[in-house]
């Protein structure tokens, strides 16, 4: 009996002692050790992160994760995906459950400074919009006073919505759900007059409604929503890897390197291309990777333009134009620091 108590006491103190050792440090080593990148994505937002017909995850955010895997392992398939609700996403990243969060997440100051996160760039410039039924006869967000609005909890959307209606002296009735599918179902069942989220999301969600043609996205964009990948604070090496995978894809588009011509480009004499593809310099080693890191990203995933067109561009059902997401040299906002 006493032995049992004693062993219990010893056990408890041992557990307490174990708990005191903190987990931290090199994400890259952890990722290499387990052999894949654990990537946090949405629970299903067509064009950004959703399973395709074959059951594989695809989308703009998914391709960024594939790019990271290609850079680390030379294999774009070495990724596992964790579908997360808006509410779960930051906790999953903070606790180390995922290595990178690539889930159409808005970069805001409070998230950047108070949640222990770092945003590693912007892979899609978005803004919040409204979707309504055409039968309502509404053609401006300013006519929405008194409407019921469906919105997902734990998003910047919820706060922007409040601010917009307040600033314009309008009232509304919020109906708040935790999961994206629940918001979609409620809007489809006519529980709300208005659906609000990022405009890219509205286009994507509209495709999943029972009658997409009966709905329209209003022209107003009421907020800035820079969406990008996030990593944990305190690991600069991993932060750099995620950041530069995105920049490499942008630089590749700027230089005209695509997945199709990457092998040809290896023979290029343009020093910019040579640096990008690892023929000159040791840029890969500086972030703990092989020198062909960017070559692997471009060869296996493609440059930013290819990824954009493949997932959300004109040839897809979403048919979103490049707009502000065009390269800086073509009048957009996508701008990567030089690779040198």
């Amino acid at each position: 009996m006493n032995k049992k108590i004693l062993s219990a006491v010893v056990g408890i103190t041992a557990v307490a002692g174990l708990g005191a050792t903190a987990a931290s440090a090199a994400t890259l080593d952890d990722v290499k050790a387990k052999g894949f990148v654990q990537c946090g994505v949405s629970t299903g937002l067509a064009g950004f992160s959703a399973p395709n017909d074959a059951g594989d995850w695809s989308g703009l955010d998914v391709d960024l994760c594939r790019g990271i895997a290609a850079a680390v392992f030379g294999d774009a398939k070495a990724v596992k995906f964790s579908p997360l609700s808006a509410k779960e996403r930051f906790t999953a990243l903070q606790s180390g459950e995922i290595d990178v969060l690539s889930r159409n997440t808005t970069w805001t100051m409070s998230r950047d400074t108070q949640l222990g996160l770092n945003f590693a760039g912007v892979n899609y410039y978005d803004g919040q919009g409204f979707m309504v039924r055409k039968s309502l006869g509404v053609n401006s967000a300013l006519q929405l006073s008194g409407a019921s609005v469906c919105v997902q909890t734990g998003t910047t959307t919820e706060l922007n919505l409040t601010d917009y209606f307040k600033a314009n002296g309008m009232t509304y009735n919020p109906v708040v759900f935790e999961k994206l599918e629940e918001v979609n179902a409620a809007y489809d069942a006519n529980r709300c007059d208005v659906y609000t989220t990022d405009q890219s999301g509205l286009y994507s969600i509209r495709l999943g409604l029972s009658a997409p043609d009966e709905h329209m996205v209003l022209p107003e964009v009421i907020s800035k929503e820079p969406l990008g990948p996030a990593v944990r604070q305190g690991d600069d090496q991993w932060f750099s890897i995620v950041k530069w995978v995105h920049f490499a894809m942008l630089n590749a588009e700027e230089m005209g390197v695509t997945s199709a011509n990457a092998d040809e480009m290896l023979n290029s004499t343009d020093p910019n291309v040579m640096r990008l593809l690892g023929k000159e310099g040791t840029f890969g080693e500086a972030i703990g990777l092989g020198n062909d890191w960017a070559y692997n990203v471009i060869k296996q995933v493609g440059n930013y333009g290819e990824v954009f067109e493949r997932n959300v561009g004109a040839s897809t059902p979403l048919a979103i134009g490049r707009g502000v997401n065009a390269l800086w040299s073509k009048g957009g906002l996508q701008y990567a620091p030089p690779l040198r």
Binding site: A16, T113, V175, N190
Partner: protein, 402 residues
């Protein structure tokens, strides 16, 4: 052998017994050790969490309670705007949870008692219907039932604009997929006297009941307490209403723009949650009630009949009081279950504590540890209060053994 010798020779001489072998001392030592270990465990857990939060650069503390919330809430029983603080948002969520729990407990108990009695009915149809009800509802997960009720409510009801309502025309009752709209009673000056009259009537009812019981004990004469009480309950407020010059008016709902405006509304999320919770819990309560009544031996009612009591009085004075002591303890568990299950509201968009505080507030502040601990503490407190009340109620109906 030597040990045995010592015991027989010096029995009663405690100085010879080593402290290690004194069961009292030994027990005390181990208990103190265990307490120290538990305290250390909690202490290291808390400091560890604080250290790790600080190291990961995550803000902590309870200062966020005083900040502006900045989001709106669909249903609130206290004044709330997006300019209110997070603390106020917390209370809105808490009240929404408590309201659905209290009303849910009321309906679950009511339906549960009726179905429980129906299962014992001699009427074949009634009895089978009750059995099917219990076996169906208690065997399907509650979350599915909630989703079913929510989809059913939304699927059946028309939208307000499709419901054939003329814009701006007031209606008394209207049920659409934005809610059940009813007239709202608007109190004007002097309306408080009606409330006073209502309280007075209830107090008088209780006092008359006590006096009547005392008189019956002393003289055997009976007094129609129920009818007198009901009369007071109806007529006292009515007189107050007339004397103060009818200070109540009704506000009706009407279709304006997208939605109904005015009146008193029960939202579909609340309806679905209340339906789901009450019907589900009622199926368990029905079984508890059936068990409680069957636990009273048949001889008790036979004895009561032999004494000349009518069936009505037999069940009221003999069967039910004895069944209650079997019913109440498991009933308490069901009340607790219902309260805790109300947190599933988040799935159907009802703004309860978990949805507002554990959802929106957690996300906007990012302070998961604080928010989740407070949420757990609230449910713990609610449950302990419910248990305390039910224990008190149980002791007041328990059989007095002589």
């Amino acid at each position: 052998m030597a040990h045995q010798e010592g015991v027989t020779a010096d029995a009663g001489d405690s100085e010879r017994v080593s402290l290690m072998n004194d069961p009292k001392v030994r027990g005390l030592v181990f208990q103190v050790l265990l307490i120290i270990a538990v305290i250390y465990l909690v202490y290291s857990g808390v400091t560890n969490a604080i250290d790790n939060l600080a190291r990961a650069g995550i803000a902590s503390g309870f200062g966020f309670f005083g900040e502006r919330a900045g989001f709106d809430i669909g249903q609130s029983f206290i004044p709330y705007t997006n300019d209110s603080t997070y603390l106020r948002a917390f209370f809105v969520g808490l009240l929404n949870t408590m309201v659905v729990a209290v009303i849910g407990i009321f309906f679950a108990t009511l339906i549960g008692f009726i179905v429980g009695l129906a299962r014992l009915s001699k009427n074949y149809l009634v009895q089978k219907f009750a059995t099917v009800y219990v076996e169906t509802l208690r065997n399907i997960p509650l979350l599915l039932q909630l989703l079913f009720w929510y989809k059913a409510v939304l699927a059946i009801l028309p939208s307000p604009r499709a419901g054939g309502l003329e814009p701006g025309v007031e209606v008394v009752f209207n049920l659409n997929n934005r809610g059940l709209y009813m007239p709202r009673i608007v109190p004007e000056g002097g309306a408080q006297f009606i409330a006073y009259a209502l309280i007075l009537a209830i107090v008088a009812w209780i006092l008359i009941g006590r006096w009547a019981k005392k008189r019956q004990m002393a003289t055997g004469q009976q007094f129609p307490v129920f009818l007198t009480g009901l009369g007071l309950f109806i007529f006292l407020p009515l007189i107050a209403y007339l004397v103060t010059g009818m200070p109540l008016s009704l506000e009706y709902a009407s279709l304006q723009g997208f939605n109904m405006v005015g009146g008193w509304v029960i939202q579909p999320e609340f309806m679905a949650l209340l339906l789901g919770l009450s019907l589900y819990t009622a199926s368990f309560i029905a079984e508890i009630v059936r068990a409680g009544i069957l636990a009273v031996s048949h001889g008790q009612s036979e004895a009561a009949f032999a004494l000349g009591l009518r069936p009505n009085l037999t069940s009221r004075l003999v069967v039910v009081p004895q069944a209650m002591r079997v019913i109440i303890p498991p009933l308490t568990s069901q009340f607790l279950n219902l309260t805790k299950n109300s947190s599933l509201a988040v799935a159907i968009g009802y703004p309860d504590l978990v949805s507002i505080f554990g959802g929106t507030v957690l996300n906007q502040t990012g302070q998961a540890v604080e928010v989740i601990s407070i949420t757990m503490l609230v449910y713990l407190t609610l449950s302990l209060l419910t248990s305390a009340f039910m224990n008190w109620f149980n002791s007041s109906v328990a059989l007095v053994e002589r």
